[in-house]
């Protein structure tokens, strides 16, 4: 009786021959089982089983015709909700959502107030003073709430002043931010004078 590590390999070959119909391994299996009782027994056992008719089943009538309907009714009875693909995954949905967003943004930006002006800043946008003056106000923006935001050119780039109003509605003064706080009084006077020119 021969039993060694090769038995595992031979048993795999026996399966290949009998189940998968591989013929190349027949000789090697034959040589081994001639000396190995265990593998010969396995070959006989599997061989006897492999020649048995393999059962195949199909749904008989009437289940064949009613199976699908029964599955559907059981699904509905349980109220199962299918795990659908998330809507945003669908390319069609993605395009539709993108178009909707673009159109919405366009319509929002394009809307006008009673005076026919664009309701969203920048409502007015333009030059307020000379660019050759380093302290001049370069640009201003009139927001829809009446606040004027000033954008300064060098050396006060991106600084903003917000006007405050007195009871009559006239500009009372300006709240200055960032580098404007560091201006000297003369510089601020010049700045306010420029604003008065607006």
């Amino acid at each position: 009786m021969k039993t060694d590590k090769s038995c595992t390999e031979i048993q795999a070959l026996i399966e290949s021959v009998l189940i998968e119909g591989v013929t190349d391994a027949r000789d090697r299996v034959g040589e081994h089982v001639a000396e190995c009782d265990d593998c010969r027994k396995y070959l006989n056992d599997l061989g006897n089983l492999s020649i048995l008719p393999r059962p195949e089943f199909t749904l008989p009538f009437p289940e064949r015709d009613t199976f699908s309907a029964t599955v559907r009714s059981r699904i509905e009875l349980r109220g199962r909700v299918p795990e659908r693909r998330p809507l945003f995954v669908s390319p069609v949905t993605q395009v539709a959502v993108l178009l909707l967003v673009v159109v919405s943004v366009f319509l929002y930006l394009a809307r006008t107030d009673d005076d026919g002006r664009y309701a969203v800043s920048p409502a007015w946008y333009g030059e307020a003073a000379r660019y050759d003056d380093p302290y001049a106000v370069a640009d201003y923006t009139m927001l829809d709430n009446g606040i004027v935001a000033f954008m300064l050119i060098e050396p006060f780039q991106s600084d903003v002043s917000i006007p405050t109003y007195d009871q009559s509605g006239s500009i009372f003064g300006y709240e200055l931010y960032d580098e404007l706080d560091e201006l000297s009084e003369d510089e601020l006077d010049l700045f306010f004078a420029r604003l008065e020119m607006l």
């Binding site: 399966e15 006989n44 008719p53 059962p55 089943f57 749904l59 008989p60 029964t70 599955v71 559907r72």
Partner: protein, 187 residues
Amino acid sequence: MVTAERTDHELIERFLDGDEQSFNVLVRKHQDFAYNIARKLVGNHEDAVESAQRVFVKLYGQLGSFDRRSAFTTWLYRVVTNESLNLLRKRRVRRWFSFDESDQSMVATENDPFETLLETEKRERLMEALETLPDRQRAVFVLRMMEGRSYAEISQILGVSEGSLKASFFHAVKKLSTRMEKLYENR
């Protein structure tokens, strides 16, 4: 095969996009496949129908998680096998096998009535012998011997290592062979 799988995938895609009818088509297409596997595993018609129906009810809610890189039938093998083994465990107290003479679901392969009778008897004895196997050995034997699946595929289906599956199959063959001999001796 590629075309069939593509069709399965297309049906799943359509179903996931909201086409309920595609699911019905998928069920009708694979109902015999699911029933066939379940029948071999659970051993009787009623439980096999129950198992196959449960599978599709379950699939209805889980098709979204199906990995479309793999074949649908491989996934179906796994779901049917697991569902059938679960059913077996739950109904272990019941008699598993109840073959009767008028079993219409067994596909006859011979036209000769005498041959057909012999074949049917052999099949019945094989199925009867399968009854004696533990669940895993039964599953491995059905998938390997009757369905011709490779160990790699069965490993995916059952979630068990190939080494363990080979050992289970080896023991299943030995037990079935012994059981079949006894069955023939007693008849």
